[in-house]
Structure formats: structure tokens, C-alpha cells
């Protein structure tokens, strides 16, 4: 095998590796966005959605389309956490009532 052949084989290996990393990143961002959307919907189902969660998801999708995969994943993870916290908050507060001090109690 000559020098040119080695370059060809190297290029193919590089291309396959890059493609595989790209596909992996793409799957990861899609999963992160889907998880964020699921958490947002779960929070909304109990009236606990936060103001910016949907905006964060929309921004994450934009970044993913622009190829800024790691930034998109970070934003989607933030949105997912907001959804989880909003859901927990709504469940925790579902029996909220007058504070005791209104009734003159300490």
C-alpha cells in the first residue's frame, strides 16, 4: 500500500468517527429537549409551570439547529430542572391556606 492509500484509509476512519460523535451528540440533545418538554408538561398538568421554561426549550431547539449542541443540552437540562421543580412546588402547595398569624396565632 502506498502513501495515498494510507491517507484514504485515515480519512475514512476520521470521517466515520466524526460522524458517529455527531450522531451521538444529536441523539443526546434530542433526548435532553424531549425530557425538558416532558417535565414542562408535567408541571403544567398541575398548574405549576414556570414562566420561562417553554422559552428555554424553544431557545435550546434554536441552538441545536444552529449546531451549538452543548449549549443546547445545557439549556434543555435547565428547562427540565425547572419543570421538575415547578411540579414538586405545585404538589407541595396544593393545600396552601391562611398563615396562622392572620388568626392571631404565633
Amino acid at each position: 500500500m502506498g502513501y495515498i492509500d494510507w491517507v484514504r484509509i485515515g480519512s475514512i476512519i476520521l470521517l466515520v468517527a466524526t460522524n458517529s460523535a455527531w450522531a451521538e451528540e444529536n441523539t443526546e440533545v434530542e433526548q435532553a429537549i424531549a425530557a425538558a418538554e416532558g417535565a414542562r408538561q408535567q408541571a403544567a398538568s398541575v398548574g405549576g409551570e414556570w414562566r420561562d421554561t417553554a422559552k428555554l426549550i424553544a431557545k435550546a431547539k434554536e441552538l441545536a439547529q444552529a449546531g451549538q449542541i452543548q449549549e443546547a443540552i445545557a439549556l434543555a437540562n435547565r428547562a427540565r430542572r425547572q419543570g421538575e421543580l415547578g411540579y414538586e412546588q405545585a404538589l407541595r402547595e396544593q393545600n396552601a391556606d391562611f398563615p396562622a398569624y392572620v388568626f392571631g396565632k404565633p
Binding site: A44, E49, W50, R51, T53, E93, A96, D97
Partner: protein, 276 residues
């Protein structure tokens, strides 16, 4: 021993029911709290909101009220009230005692099992007469509310929770839960600003007491540059604590209005108002 356990289990179920306050008791506690918190404010001044407790803001407000920024909305509303629908009927056919009807809302609608606000009733009237419903956030519906509020000045808030319909109490309770629930990224409830912190400064603003919150709607807010509704304010407050707002006239906000207006029973209506 098993009898003792049974006693405590039964007590555990019964005690919360026995200790639960009635809406009337909660209303008395609510009003009493603000009267104790602001002992120098006469009861009939709470309807003026923050201007009852902050003399500097009051002076600004009185100057604004010399040329009320909501006047044009009242005039437009009067014209709408008197303009017949395509079928020749008018709002007066739906509300024969109108236009001074603001203190009849919100009310419990037994037939539909829901809280009916004045905005909802106006749109129901339109639909019954073959007209398109109006948007709730701004425009003609708010003008109509301004006219009705102006004609209703001096009426006393008198929301009723019919005791023979448990669904009404459920709506009240849902409104109460909404009011006191922490929400949004800032984890605040309505009460965090308008109960124990009422009268305190939030940056340059003084937080208004919850007693008087329902008397003066719709309101010309300088921030909005136009007249808007109580539900628009609810939505704004929700967003300020970074919670997603609910749609105007949603069940959540109608129940909230039902609870909060009931808390304000006895307060005089003085809408439309002007606020920062």
C-alpha cells in the same frame, strides 16, 4: 391498647374538619388582620389601596385623579352599552338593572356550576345575541367594564357563597389555595407581598394591602398606558414571580377573584381606578 390507637386515628380525621374555619370566619380574620396592621387607616379608606397608607403616593394619585386617565374608556363603554347588537337588542336586555351591576359579580352560577365574573357575563350576553365574544385583555370589553364600574360607584361588595351548593365552597377553597400557594421560580404566593409585607418597600414601590384589592377595577395603570382588568393584574403578578400566567377568565382566575372579592365584602366599589 387497640382502642387507644383507634381513638387517635379517628381524632386525626375529625380534628382538621372541626378546626377548619368557615369562609365567614376567614373573612373576619382577613379584615381584622389588616385593620390591626394599619390601625390609623379608616376602614373606608382601604378601597384606595396603597394610597390609603402612603401619603406621598397619595398626593401623586390625587393629582392624577384631577384629570382621570380612564375617562375616555368610560365614554366608549357608555356608547357600547347603548349601541344595539345586529338583532336590535342591547346589553340592557341581558342586564335589565344595568349598568350599575358591578357588585353582583363575581357570583356563583348554580346552573353551570361555575363562578361567573362580569367580563364573562358580558361575553355570554353577546353570544346569546349572536355577537362574537370580545377579547378579555383590552379594548371594548374593558371599556364596558369601566362604564359599568363608574355607574356602580358607591355600591358595597357583597359576594355570596351559597351554603346549599357545596360546589360554591369548593370554588372559594380553590381560589384560596391559589392565593396562598407559592408559585414560580421566585417561590412567592400572593400573600407574601400583600399580607405581612404590605406597606413595605419593594424597590421604589410600596406593597399594597390585600384588603381593598378588588374595589377599583378596571384600572388605568400608568405601566400599561391603558385600562386593564383584575385578571390582567393577576397574570402580571404571576409573571413577576416567574410563574406561567393562566389565561384571563380561566377557572383558576375566576375562583381567585371569587375568594379575594369575598374577602373584601363590605368594601365600597370605587372603580374605575388609576394606579401606577
Amino acid at each position: 391498647m387497640p382502642r387507644l390507637i383507634l381513638f387517635w386515628v379517628i381524632l386525626g380525621f375529625i380534628a382538621p374538619l372541626a378546626l377548619a374555619a368557615t369562609p365567614a370566619e376567614e373573612q373576619a380574620a382577613f379584615q381584622g388582620y389588616f385593620k390591626r396592621r394599619f390601625p390609623s387607616v379608616p376602614e373606608n379608606e382601604f378601597k384606595n389601596g396603597v394610597y390609603a397608607i402612603d401619603p406621598v403616593m397619595r398626593a401623586n394619585w390625587e393629582a392624577i385623579e384631577e384629570f382621570p386617565p380612564y375617562e375616555q374608556a368610560i365614554a366608549r363603554g357608555e356608547e357600547l352599552w347603548k349601541t344595539p347588537f345586529a338583532n336590535g337588542r342591547t346589553y340592557a336586555d341581558c342586564f335589565p338593572d344595568g349598568p350599575a351591576i358591578a357588585n353582583r359579580y363575581p357570583r356563583w352560577d348554580r346552573e353551570h356550576g361555575t363562578v361567573v365574573t362580569l367580563s364573562l357575563a358580558l361575553n355570554d350576553c353577546r353570544k346569546a345575541n349572536g355577537e362574537e365574544p370580545l377579547p378579555y385583555n383590552k379594548g371594548p370589553l374593558v371599556d364596558l367594564l369601566a362604564y359599568i364600574a363608574y355607574q356602580s360607584r358607591g355600591q358595597i361588595t357583597q359576594v355570596e357563597i351559597p351554603e346549599d351548593d357545596p360546589r360554591a365552597l369548593e370554588a372559594y377553597t380553590k381560589g384560596k389555595r391559589f392565593y396562598f400557594a407559592r408559585r414560580g421560580q421566585l417561590n412567592f404566593s400572593c400573600a407574601h407581598c400583600h399580607f405581612a409585607n404590605s406597606g413595605a418597600k419593594l424597590r421604589t414601590e410600596t406593597l399594597s394591602p390585600a384588603l381593598g384589592h378588588t374595589t377599583h377595577w378596571p384600572v388605568y395603570r400608568s405601566e400599561w398606558g391603558e385600562v386593564g382588568t383584575l385578571h390582567r393584574r393577576f397574570a402580571g403578578c404571576n409573571e413577576q414571580v416567574r410563574a406561567k400566567a393562566f389565561p384571563l377568565e380561566s377557572e383558576e382566575y375566576r375562583n381567585l377573584e371569587y375568594f379575594l372579592t369575598y374577602m373584601n365584602n363590605g368594601q365600597e366599589l370605587n372603580g374605575p381606578g388609576a394606579r401606577k
